[in-house]
Subunit: 187 residues, 2 copies
């Protein structure tokens, strides 16, 4: 079993970058091949399901990052302010300080693979749940916490679009700064 120079995770992270920037339809297997250094048949050997499987597993890498760097800290012990601060640093890294789109956007346009949409749906629900949980820690009512969580995610996703179209990271940065207030501060 000749081990390859490119790990499965490296392939998936390269693919994830491509899918986030160009969207599902905007990425070809040739592009993934170029990005990862593996020829197309090698990609099919590792991922018999082709582009759809690669996209799904790449999405899994994003979920793993969120689980570790964002949901993890939020679910841990400690005061809410500090936990939100840690989550925000994770978000800043994941989004390249506002320069890299979110999978939740890029991969949410219709494909012929319903699994992609279903995985995104579960991912977003988990995200809302994590944000909602930290909001509830401030004593907020469940419904209010849920709305705050959704608002924070809405603002993040929207700011990434605005930053991308204006080619200006400031809307994203400003939005990140406002997250603690959105999640924790009672009005």
């Amino acid at each position: 079993m000749a081990r390859s120079k490119v790990s499965r995770q490296e392939v998936l992270r390269g693919a994830l970058e491509l899918f986030r920037v160009f969207g599902f339809e905007g990425v070809s297997l040739s592009a993934i091949s170029q990005k990862t250094g593996l020829e197309k048949p090698s990609l099919y050997f590792r991922f018999p399901g082709g582009k759809a499987q690669i996209a799904l597993e790449a999405l899994g890498e994003a979920v793993k990052f969120f689980s570790g760097q964002i949901f993890g800290p939020l679910c841990g012990v400690g005061n809410p302010e500090e936990k939100v601060r840690l989550a925000i640093e994770g978000l800043r890294i994941f989004y390249g300080d506002g320069t890299i789109p979110c999978v939740t956007d890029s991969l949410s346009f219709p494909t012929e693979y319903p699994e992609v949409a279903m995985t995104l749906n579960r991912f977003l629900q988990a995200w809302i749940e994590a944000f909602s949980g930290i909001a509830e820690e401030t004593g907020m009512a469940r419904q209010e916490a849920q709305a705050r969580a959704e608002n924070a995610i809405i603002a993040l996703e929207g700011s990434l679009i605005v930053s991308r179209v204006l080619q200006d990271p400031r809307p994203f940065r400003r939005t990140l700064l406002e997250i603690p207030d959105v999640l924790l501060k009672s009005k």
Copy 2:
């Protein structure tokens, strides 16, 4: 000059629907042909620049809608609350009550045509200007008004993503309801 049954505007509106839902790379000329009832060579006769030209002119239709139904009311005379109410009705229609993505999102993923990105950039700046203008009418400082305008657009764009992924129009509807406060209410 045999007049055709399908007007240029009908073609562009059909194409705009496709581009909004599937993104630039997700739409083929065959799809536009099917949607509009015109064969591909007829599309090339009307739009020699092919898909890129159709996308640009379709985007122009979106700009026209916004100019008439959103920017127009906001720039008119009358009290700000009523003008914002009219703009919100325009937005609700444009976004199919949260079921249709925004061109600003769908067409903002990289293509080989820089004109698309430039047109989107100008469109978004005009939108910010229009929202900012109405916010300034309440006596707000210019910088504050600009931030409020961006926040309103960020919330709209983000809520469309969340509504799409959750397959639930409520995040969008809730966001629409909050727009008057975001644009007009001093904190």
